[in-house]
């Protein structure tokens, strides 16, 4: 116990140097590692030897043409389209909600109230059924044109276009609109939290420079709010990938999970197609997580001590041209 300790007398002559100490032993940690390793080994062995997995069928099912088409034209397109609508509309709703104008604020509140209350499967089923409201097609026209014409005894057509409601509301377009409207209600809350997280002094500094409210929101407040908005938006996007499997409510069948299930029921290989679906969803979410972490880094620039490198700038240029193009005026 005493042989290695140096006495106070020698410490006075010789100043202590580099530390070379025996580390604490984490016995519990090693036990945990052993248990987890054992569990993983058992799982792998089970998955490789259990015939129900039928791995060769899994790989084949994953790359069937209808599955790939469903993945791209349903799952990925549906996610991208509905998230674009959700983010853009959500930010608009959030800005309205924070507006001084009580009518705008109330409208935004009512929007969120309505779309948060409706389950997505129900909403999509309603979207698919909207066609019954427009048996003669949807007219794009001057509002109340017929009533005005009746009242003033005028004639002629004030209709600009007539759309087939079944075409608009069924199919992937209806799905994107439905999921986008629903998503906007959630994004509005996320964007509102983000906007409120920005120091009010930022808005004042912008105003003092002569910026309009809109310009200050766009150039100063929102980019800073993005730091708070991006992480939960990543979660929303990943949740949306999974919710595209609800497109069947419309019904849209060109979608990853439906296509895999139908292969399963045709071939009686129900379990392998489920494994194939899980693998696809895992792959998509992994890619999304990488994109999310890059976005977080970009919008976190200037916060914390790390200086943003050229990689962030290049990434920005690729992902979104958030900084606007050239000079140009505008108020």
């Amino acid at each position: 116990m005493t042989e290695s300790g140096s006495s106070a007398a020698t410490a006075a002559d010789e100043r202590p140097g580099a530390i070379d100490a025996v580390p604490v032993r984490h016995l519990g940690r090693w036990v945990a590692v052993a248990f987890i390793a054992l569990g993983i080994a058992m799982l792998v062995q089970f998955m490789l030897t259990n015939k129900a997995f039928n791995w060769s069928f899994v790989w084949k099912a994953m790359i069937q043409t209808p599955v790939i088409n469903g993945l791209i034209g349903g799952t990925l397109l549906g996610t991208a389209g509905s998230m674009v609508i959700g983010v853009v509309l959500g930010v608009i709703v959030a800005v309205m909600r924070l507006s001084d104008n009580p009518v705008l604020a109330w409208t935004a509140w009512a929007y969120t109230w309505f779309f948060r209350a409706i389950p997505r499967l129900v909403l999509l089923t309603i979207m698919g059924a909207l066609g019954v409201l427009y048996p003669a097609g949807m007219r794009i026209a001057i509002p109340f044109d017929r009533q005005i014409q009746d009242l003033l005894g005028m004639h002629g057509t004030w209709t600009f276009a007539t759309l087939d409601a079944n075409q608009v509301f069924t199919g992937i377009l209806g799905g994107i609109i439905g999921l986008g409207l629903s998503e906007a209600a959630y994004m509005a809350e996320i964007a509102r939290a983000g906007i409120l997280s920005v120091d009010p002094g930022q808005n004042e500094a912008a105003a003092a420079l002569g910026m309009s409210d809109g310009l200050a929101m766009r150039r100063i407040v929102l980019p800073q709010a993005m730091r708070v908005i991006v992480p939960p938006t990543g979660n929303e996007t990943i949740a949306m990938v999974k919710d595209t499997s609800l497109l069947i409510g419309i019904p849209v069948s060109n979608e990853l999970f439906f296509q895999l299930s139908s292969i399963g029921s045709r071939t009686y290989q129900t379990f392998p197609v489920l494994v194939a679906a899980v693998i696809w969803y895992l792959l998509i979410c992994s890619v999304l997580m990488v994109i999310q972490s890059r976005l977080e880094r970009y919008f976190g620039r200037g916060f914390g001590t790390r200086a943003p490198g050229p990689r962030d700038q290049a990434f920005l240029a690729k992902m979104l041209s958030f900084r606007g193009g050239g000079g140009g005026g505008g108020m």
């Binding site: 930022q202 003092a208 002569g210 200037g302 005026g329």
Partner: protein, 273 residues
């Protein structure tokens, strides 16, 4: 018409019935430097914010460069100006905040060129050239690619001054520009402000820096509890105050300044060892 750049007459402002400004009269001439002194809560910040309309006044009138702020007088009837018009009026006034309020997601240069490009409609190249000149003027040309978080408080405040100057304001408002700074960083900001005053900028400066007020100000205005108590040449007001409230305030500031100086000296001495 008077030639004053700023003319405030009987300005009142209340927050939820609490009257913070109780009839302020103040004229500031072209190229004049006015220091506003007064205890905390006397309404100095509020008055500055009223001048560039970050607050709307409840009574009185403020003219800047001969133009009534916030309202338009049409045949004796006041009409509220549009937000766009108010933004235009603010453009001729630069403001420097106590807490800098730089845009943290933009570099020093980007902070400076933001308004000229997106409000003033200048080309990016032109604005960048001018922005570099301004950063050079405040001694920070080597820091133009730094984000605010990578700058010291004094450097941030100097960037904030450059940012305000970028819109070529006729008037600069400073709200305690050095009171959020470590004592050893105060000097570099005051130096920039001193140069600005020498170049003929019209300035209203809220400050507790008596040395600056004495050297640079053409006039010192002492405010307390929402009114102007006394004003005059710096030497008169600071060295020979007439009102009891001014005397009390000045002696307290003097004590604080001496304490600060002693603390700073002690710190500098400790660093030398």
């Amino acid at each position: 018409m008077s030639t004053a750049l700023v003319q405030a007459i009987n300005v009142t402002k209340n927050f939820h019935g609490n009257e913070v400004l109780k009839g302020i009269d103040l004229d500031v001439e072209q190229r004049e430097v006015v220091c506003l002194l007064g205890p905390s809560g006397s309404g100095k910040t509020t008055f500055l914010r009223c001048i560039n309309q970050l607050e709307t006044i409840n009574g009185g009138r403020i003219w800047v460069d001969g133009e009534l702020t916030g309202y338009e007088d049409r045949n004796g009837r006041l009409h509220r100006r549009t937000n766009k018009d108010i933004a235009r009026q603010r453009r001729q006034i630069g403001m420097v905040f106590q807490r800098f309020n730089l845009f943290p997601h933009k570099t020093a240069l980007e902070n400076v060129v933001e308004a000229p490009v997106h409000v003033g409609g200048r080309s990016k190249a032109e604005a960048n050239k001018r922005g570099l000149e301004l950063l050079d003027r405040v001694g920070l040309s080597d820091r133009c690619d730094h984000y605010p978080a990578q700058l010291s408080g004094g450097q941030q405040q100097r960037v904030a001054i450059a940012r305000a100057l970028a819109m070529d304001p006729k008037l600069m408002l400073f709200d305690e520009p050095t009171s959020a700074l470590d004592p050893e960083l105060v000097g570099e900001v005051l130096t920039v402000m001193r140069e600005l005053a020498q170049q003929g900028m019209t300035m209203i400066v809220v400050t507790h820096e008596m040395g600056f007020a004495r050297d640079v100000a053409d006039r010192v205005v002492f405010m307390d509890a929402g009114v102007v108590v006394e004003q005059g040449a710096p030497t008169d007001v600071i060295d020979n105050p007439q009102h009891e409230r001014t005397k009390t305030f000045l002696s307290r500031i003097r004590e604080e300044t001496e304490e600060h100086a002693a603390a700073l000296q002690a710190r500098l001495d400790a660093e030398q060892i």
